[in-house]
Amino acid sequence: MIEPEKANQPKSARLAVGLVYALTVPGILAWLAAIFLAPYLRSRGAGALSALLYAVFAPLCHQIPDRCLVFHGCPLAVCARCLGIYAGFLAGLAGYPFVRGWGSLALPKARLVVLSSLPMGLDFLAGAAGLWASPPGLRIATGLVWGLALPYYFVPGAAELVLRVRSRRAARHVLPMGGIKR
């Protein structure tokens, strides 16, 4: 006999994954747009709004101009590696439904994130050791590889969080004796 809660699980998981996906896609698109909007606004003379956008990204990225790509004559709001990570996240998100589907809350094996971190880690360590100064293209590429793997952890994690919040809300509507509040 199937318990009612388990029977509902795939449907609720699909809804939670769908909700997280539906919020994350516009979120990352807006995030990427803001990265390009900051230099564009600065080039158009909208200094205050541009400064606000740069300030939002300041705690998240060193924003060293030499490490940032230039757009409309001004550096992007994040460095090339961070841009690669966010672009990779978007690309990974685009492939998510085809790779994982909508109903799975299972996490991929840890080796996925370890392997995807290797190029970026090696590039960073070699740069820090003074072995080479990686060009922006390589920084973007290594960030992109890492970013590609991240949605496969983020979406199931956030979806399970949504399910927990929902079940907690549902539990509030159930009376202590097992009755349902009407």
Partner: protein, 176 residues
């Protein structure tokens, strides 16, 4: 879940404090918010060590998000200490070096140096808004770190019942 809250709190405080300090440490902070990933992984590891295997992605998400919020608070308050001026002087030195190496006068570098030379002006409202935005963003990055941490340390599935050794027959013993 309210009962489980204290279980998340200590790992989140440990992971968040570690990440927050690293986010403010000169040179080390060039990795920026990436420190939230190892911070979230650390929090998940502590959680797994305290509660045992069998953690779910949601556990990692909760502990990771809390880690991000703690890190934001630690980072914001460390920003009020002399560490911030050390970071600014490190950035100024780096900007000078870059200008030396590039050989050309880059307007972006000049602008950066101007910004770093200006004294920081803090307002309570600006501090609180900045803290709120930082906490929201770091909570998302920490969530990711916590979930990755669960994938690494905590998501061990219990062994299937068929692999368990058969229970000894009751009421009979070879021991004499």
């Amino acid at each position: 879940m309210d009962n489980a809250k204290p279980e998340y709190l200590v790992p989140a405080l440990i992971g968040g404090a570690a990440s927050g300090v690293l986010l403010m440490t000169p040179f080390v902070n060039l990795c920026c918010c990436l420190w939230l990933i190892p911070g979230g992984v650390l929090a998940a590891w502590v959680l797994a060590a305290r509660t045992g295997p069998g953690l779910k992605a949601g556990d990692g998400a909760v502990v990771g998000a809390l880690t991000g919020i703690v890190a934001a608070v630690v980072d914001a308050f460390l920003g009020l200490t002399p560490l911030q001026s050390i970071n600014r002087s490190v950035m100024r030195t780096m900007a000078d070096r870059m200008a030396e190496f590039s050989g050309a006068q880059l307007p972006q570098l000049d602008r950066l140096k101007e910004q770093l030379a200006a004294p920081p002006n803090y307002t309570v409202a600006g501090f609180l808004i900045g803290l709120f935005v930082l906490a929201a963003v770091l909570a998302l990055v920490g969530l990711l770190g916590g979930v990755i941490g669960v994938a690494v340390f905590g998501a061990k599935k219990p062994s299937p019942p068929s692999q368990q050794p058969p229970a000894p027959p009751q009421g009979h013993s070879d021991a004499t």
